[in-house]
C-alpha cells in the first residue's frame, strides 16, 4: 500500500518537475546576504528529510521546509484551578513528529496561546539539537511600546525558548495603526536600532516583519528596505486573499507577493488556510474540488497554492492535531505544485466563495479577550460552518424546522450562553485588533438578529 503510494507520488513529482515553471526547483540562491554573522550559525542547514520539500533562503542559504509550524493553535486544557494551559504532552508529540517528517521552521510569538506558546515550543524543541530547526518569534509589543517593556519582551523570549539566538525575528503585525504606529512601536523607542545591532551580533540571524494592513502602509514599509534591509517578510497569502482581499485594510496577496519578489525578499506565508476556513469550504465548492481530484484533501489545495510560488520560503500551518500534521506532511512530502489550470480553477473557487455570507474570520483570536466576555471567533466559526454546510435555516424551506432546531442547539453547544452574540454591546474595542478588518460588532449583531428570529419562531 505504502509503496504504491510513494511510487505514484514520485511519478507525479517527476512529471511536474519538468512541466511546471512555477515549481520550487527554480529558486536561485544568491547568497549575497550581508547579514549572516557569527560563524557558528552562518549558512546552517537544519535537519533535512528526503521527501520534504525545501526552499533555500537566498539571503543566507538556509534550507527551510516548505511546511512551517505555526505555534498559535495548539491544544489547551484546564489545569486544576480551571485556567487554560497548553497541553504540553501533545505539543511534544507533535513537534517530534514534525521534525521527524522534515519540518524545520517553527514560528511563535510572546502573545500566542495566552502568552504560553513560546514556553511550550521551547520545552518541546529544546529536547532536540538547536541546529536541527529554525526558530522564529516576534516582538509583539502591542500594549506597551516603552523601550523598557519592549526590551523585556525581547529578552524574555530567549529565556522562554531556551536559546541564545533566533533564526528569524519579526516585528509583529505591522500595518495595524498604519505607519505612525510602526514609528511609535519601533523607532521612537529606539528598538529598531537595537534590533539592527542584535542582528549584527548574530543573536538575530534574519530580521523581518509580519504584515496586516493596507497598500499604502505596505509600500511605506517596503520603502524602508533600503534603510533596514528586511531579510524576509511574512504575509497573509492564500487563494482567496490572492485577489479577493477587501482592499480597504487588506491588500491582495498577489500585490504583496509581486512587490517582494521584485526585491528578492523571501516570503513566509501565514494563514495559507485562512485559519482552517479553507479546509471547510462550502458544500458545492468541496464537491467541485473532490470532483477534480478525489484523493486530495480540501486543505491540500490551499497549501499547494502557496507552495506553487517560488519566492515562498515556508508556509505556516497551525497544526492543532496529529491528523492535521499527518495530512500536511502528506501534501508537502513529494510536493506537487499546481498547474496553471489548477490555479485558474482555484481562482474560480475563490470567486464563488465570495457569494457565501460567511464571516472572513481566521480564528487568530487577536480580538480576544473581549472585555465583555464574548467568544468572537467561536461565534463566527459556528456560523461559518453552518453556512458552508448549507445548514442555515431559511424560513419557508422544507427543512426549516429541523435546521432551526439544529442551529439553536448547536449554537448553545458551541458557545456558552453568556458568551453569545446577544451580549455584544458594540463597544468596538475589538475592531482595531482584527487583522482581517472585519467589522466585528456589526457581524455579531447580524448573527444575533438571525438567531433571535429563529428563537422567536416557535411555530
Amino acid at each position: 500500500m505504502e509503496n504504491k503510494d510513494i511510487s505514484r507520488r514520485d511519478f507525479l513529482r517527476k512529471a511536474s518537475e519538468g512541466a511546471v515553471a512555477l515549481g520550487g526547483a527554480a529558486l536561485v540562491g544568491s547568497c549575497a546576504s550581508p547579514s549572516s554573522p557569527d560563524g557558528a550559525s552562518s549558512t546552517k542547514s537544519a535537519s533535512v528529510n528526503e521527501g520534504m520539500e525545501y526552499r533555500t533562503n537566498n539571503h543566507n542559504g538556509d534550507k527551510v521546509s516548505l511546511l512551517g509550524y505555526g505555534c498559535m493553535r495548539w491544544q489547551m486544557k484546564k489545569d486544576k484551578d480551571g485556567k487554560d494551559i497548553v497541553d504540553q504532552d501533545s505539543v511534544n508529540e507533535l513537534v517530534d513528529r514534525a521534525l521527524e517528517g522534515g519540518v524545520n521552521y517553527f514560528d511563535t510569538s510572546p502573545a500566542y496561546l495566552q502568552g504560553q506558546s513560546e514556553k511550550a515550543a521551547g520545552i518541546a524543541l529544546s529536547r532536540h539539537p538547536r541546529k536541527s530547526y529554525f526558530l522564529a518569534t516576534k516582538l509583539s509589543n502591542f500594549s506597551n511600546f516603552s523601550e523598557e517593556a519592549s526590551l523585556k519582551m525581547y529578552r524574555n523570549s530567549f529565556v522562554q525558548m531556551q536559546t541564545d539566538y533566533f533564526d528569524y525575528y519579526l516585528l509583529h503585525a505591522l500595518g495595524g495603526g498604519g505607519y505612525p504606529q510602526f514609528v511609535r512601536r519601533y523607532e521612537d523607542n529606539g528598538l529598531m536600532d537595537f534590533l539592527l545591532k542584535e542582528r549584527e551580533a548574530g543573536r538575530i540571524r534574519q530580521l523581518g516583519f509580519s504584515f496586516h494592513g493596507n497598500q499604502e502602509s505596505f509600500d511605506q514599509f517596503i520603502a524602508l528596505h533600503d534603510k533596514y534591509h528586511w531579510d524576509f517578510v511574512q504575509i497573509q497569502m492564500n487563494y482567496v486573499d490572492w485577489r479577493h482581499a477587501d482592499g480597504i485594510r487588506n491588500v491582495n496577496a498577489e500585490y504583496l507577493y509581486e512587490e517582494l519578489d521584485k526585491r528578492e525578499i523571501p516570503i513566509v506565508v501565514m494563514e495559507p488556510l485562512q485559519g482552517g476556513r479553507l479546509s471547510r469550504v462550502p458544500e458545492g465548492i468541496a464537491a467541485m474540488m473532490k470532483g477534480r481530484d478525489p484523493e486530495r484533501s480540501i486543505a491540500s489545495w490551499a497549501f499547494r497554492f502557496v507552495g506553487s510560488y517560488p519566492r515562498i520560503l515556508t508556509a505556516l500551518s497551525g497544526m492543532t492535531y496529529m491528523e492535521h500534521l499527518r495530512e500536511n506532511l502528506d501534501t508537502f512530502t513529494g510536493f506537487v505544485p499546481l498547474s496553471k489550470d489548477d490555479l485558474e480553477f482555484l481562482e474560480e473557487m475563490a470567486t464563488l466563495m465570495q457569494e457565501y455570507p460567511t464571516v472572513n474570520c481566521n480564528d487568530c483570536k487577536y480580538c480576544m479577550p473581549c472585555p465583555y466576555g464574548i467568544d468572537i471567533p467561536g461565534i463566527f466559526r459556528h456560523y461559518n460552518d453552518l453556512v458552508n454546510e448549507g445548514k442555515v435555516a431559511q424560513k419557508g424551506t422544507e427543512k426549516y424546522r429541523k435546521l432551526r432546531r439544529e442551529y439553536l442547539l448547536s449554537y448553545n453547544r458551541a458557545i456558552p450562553t453568556l458568551r453569545q452574540a446577544d451580549h455584544c454591546i458594540g463597544c468596538r474595542h475589538c475592531v482595531p485588533e482584527c487583522p482581517q478588518s472585519i467589522d466585528i460588532p456589526s457581524e455579531l449583531h447580524r448573527i444575533d438578529s438571525y438567531v433571535e428570529s429563529l428563537r422567536r419562531d416557535t411555530k
Partner: protein
C-alpha cells in the same frame, strides 16, 4: 379486578404528572396539563366549577377514589406503604384506629382560614398536590436534569440533536429544605402507618371525606361471610376497617380495594350501600409531627444578601476594566448577576395582579418546571414563600414563550398567547446611570435598546449638542412590558444598570 383497575389508573396519573413536573421541554404539558387542572385545590383556586362539581360527584358516587387515583402524593404514599409491607412480617402491619378528630378538623379549619386571609405559604405547605410539586421540582428535577445532561453530552459527541443540556441551579434553598422535610415526613408516615397524612393532615382529603361518608358505592362487610380473620383490617393502610365492630370509616377509606381482593371469604364487596354509615371506635396512636416538622423557615438571610450585593457592586468596576490590550488572551471572566431587591415582585404574564396571583397560586411549581428561560423560581419572601416569582439573572421572559400560562392549573396565570403577551405590562424597567457601562467604561452600548421586544427603550445622547456624544437608554413607560430582556442582557455586572420592578396591577394595553 377493581384493585387492578385502580393501580393501572393510578400509575398513569402518577407517572404522567411526575414526568410533567420534570419535563423542561414543554412536550408533555401539551398532553397532560389537564391532569394538573383536575387537582382539587388548583381547581378551587381557579374557580373551575366544572371540575369541582365533577370531583364532588365522583366522590359522592365512588368514594375517595380521587385520593387513590388522581392525587400524586396519595399514590406516592401507596407506593411507599406497599414497599414497606414487603418487609418480612410487615405484611399485616396496620391496626384500626379512630379518627383523630381534633387534629384532622383543626388542620382543616386552619387551612380554610389561611386560604381566606391569604396565608398562601401555609396553604401550599399542607396541600397535597403542591407538596408533590415542590418535592419533584426541588429534589427530583435536578437528578432528572443531570441525567438529561449526561445524554446531552453523549448526543453531542454523536453529533445528534436528540438531547440538549439544561442548566441545573438552586432556585430557592428554603423551598428545597421544605421539600426535603416534606418528603421525609410523608415517606416515614407512609412507611409506618400508611395513609396517616391523608386522613389527619390533608385538607383535600378532609374536604372529600365530607362527601365520601355519603357515597353511593363503598366497600361493605358482609357479616355473614366474615370469619373475623382481621386480614382486611391489618392490611388497611387507612386504618379504616374495624372488624370487631364490622365497620368501615368511609371518611377515611380511599377506595384502594385491597380489602376486597384480600378477603378469602368474599365477605368484602364494593357495592351500593347508600346511607349505611358505620365507624370504627378502637383507639390507636397516630403521629402528629407532620404539621410541626413541615413548618420550616425561609432559609434566606436578608443581611447576607445585602452584603453580597454590596460586595458585588464594589467589584463591578474592577471586573469590567478594559484589560491591557493583549491579543490572543483567552476569555474575560464574566461575573454572575445577582438578584436585585425589587420593591414589587414580578409575577408572570397572564396573572392579573400581584395580589390575585399570590391569592390563587397553590405553589405546585408546575410553572417553575415549565419555564424554559430560568426566569421563574420559588420566592424566598416569607409572605409568599414557595410561590413563584420572576427574576432575570439567568434569562428573561422571552416574547415567544407563554409556557407558564399554559400549564397553570390554579388560574393564577391565565392562558395568553404570544401576541397578547406584548400587550401585558407586568413590570417597568428603570435605568441606573451610575452602573451603566456607558458611564463606567465610557463605551457605546445600547444592548438594552437593541433587544427590547417592544421598542420601549430610546437611546438619547448624553450631550445633545456634541456630535460624537455617547448615548444612554431612556425607558418609554407606556411601551415597557417588564419582560427583563434589558436587565438580563445589560453588560453591567453583577447588578444590571437597567432593572425591572413589578407592577402591582398588570395593565393590558
Amino acid at each position: 379486578m377493581l384493585r387492578k383497575i385502580r393501580i393501572v389508573l393510578a400509575s398513569i396519573f402518577f407517572i404522567a404528572i411526575t414526568l410533567m413536573l420534570l419535563d423542561f421541554t414543554g412536550t408533555l404539558h401539551r398532553y397532560f396539563a389537564w391532569m394538573a387542572k383536575i387537582q382539587f385545590l388548583p381547581a378551587v383556586m381557579a374557580l373551575n366549577v366544572g371540575v369541582i362539581i365533577l370531583l364532588v360527584l365522583l366522590t359522592l358516587v365512588l368514594g375517595r377514589v380521587y385520593c387513590s387515583v388522581i392525587c400524586p402524593l396519595g399514590i406516592y404514599q401507596d407506593i411507599v406503604s406497599h414497599l414497606s409491607s414487603k418487609r418480612k412480617g410487615k405484611k399485616m402491619r396496620f391496626t384500626p384506629s379512630p379518627e383523630l378528630k381534633w387534629l384532622r378538623y383543626g388542620v382543616w379549619v386552619l387551612f380554610i382560614a389561611c386560604l381566606i386571609i391569604g396565608l398562601q405559604p401555609i396553604v401550599a405547605l399542607l396541600a397535597p398536590y403542591s407538596a408533590w410539586g415542590r418535592i419533584v421540582q426541588s429534589l427530583f428535577a435536578p437528578l432528572y436534569q443531570w441525567g438529561n445532561n449526561l445524554f446531552a453530552a453523549i448526543s453531542a459527541r454523536a453529533d445528534s440533536y436528540a438531547f440538549y443540556p439544561k442548566e441545573v441551579w438552586l432556585r430557592s434553598i428554603g423551598t428545597l429544605i421544605v421539600a426535603a422535610v416534606t418528603l421525609i415526613v410523608i415517606t416515614v408516615l407512609a412507611f409506618k402507618n400508611g395513609r396517616t397524612y391523608c386522613n389527619t393532615i390533608c385538607p383535600v382529603g378532609t374536604t372529600l371525606s365530607f362527601f365520601s361518608r355519603f357515597s353511593l358505592l363503598r366497600p361493605v362487610i358482609n357479616t355473614e361471610k366474615c370469619r373475623d380473620c382481621h386480614a382486611c383490617e391489618k392490611k388497611c393502610k387507612a386504618s379504616a376497617i374495624n372488624i370487631k365492630e364490622h365497620s368501615v370509616d368511609y371518611s377515611r377509606c380511599v377506595d384502594c380495594f385491597n380489602c376486597i381482593e384480600d378477603c378469602k371469604f368474599g365477605a368484602m364487596r364494593y357495592t351500593f350501600a347508600y346511607g349505611k354509615k358505620k365507624k370504627g371506635t378502637v383507639k390507636a396512636e397516630a403521629p402528629a409531627q407532620v404539621a410541626k416538622a413541615t413548618q420550616d423557615k425561609d432559609g434566606s438571610d436578608p443581611g447576607r444578601r445585602a452584603f453580597l450585593i454590596g460586595g458585588a457592586i464594589a467589584t463591578t468596576s474592577l471586573a469590567l476594566k478594559a484589560q491591557d490590550k493583549k491579543v490572543d488572551g483567552g476569555f474575560a471572566d464574566i461575573l454572575p448577576k445577582v438578584k436585585p431587591q425589587r420593591e414589587t415582585p414580578i409575577t408572570p404574564f397572564g396573572s392579573k395582579s400581584v395580589k390575585d396571583f399570590y391569592t390563587r397560586c397553590t405553589a405546585c411549581q408546575l410553572c417553575v418546571s415549565a419555564c424554559p428561560n430560568n426566569v421563574l423560581r420559588p420566592s424566598t419572601d416569607l409572605s409568599r414563600f414557595m410561590q413563584p416569582e420572576m427574576s432575570y439573572e439567568k434569562g428573561y421572559c422571552r416574547p415567544e414563550c407563554v409556557k407558564c400560562s399554559e400549564v397553570c392549573p390554579a388560574g393564577a396565570i391565565r392562558k395568553i398567547t404570544a401576541q397578547e403577551k406584548t400587550a401585558h405590562h407586568v413590570g417597568l424597567a428603570k435605568y441606573y446611570k451610575d452602573l451603566c457601562v456607558v458611564t463606567t467604561d465610557k463605551v457605546d452600548c445600547g444592548n438594552c435598546a437593541r433587544h427590547c421586544p417592544t421598542g420601549a427603550i430610546i437611546m438619547v445622547k448624553i450631550n445633545p449638542d456634541a456630535k460624537n456624544s455617547l448615548s444612554i437608554p431612556a425607558v418609554d413607560e407606556s411601551r415597557c412590558i417588564g419582560c427583563g430582556a434589558c436587565e438580563n442582557l445589560c453588560p453591567a455586572r453583577p447588578l444590571s444598570a437597567i432593572r425591572v420592578d413589578g407592577r402591582q396591577d398588570h395593565i393590558i394595553s
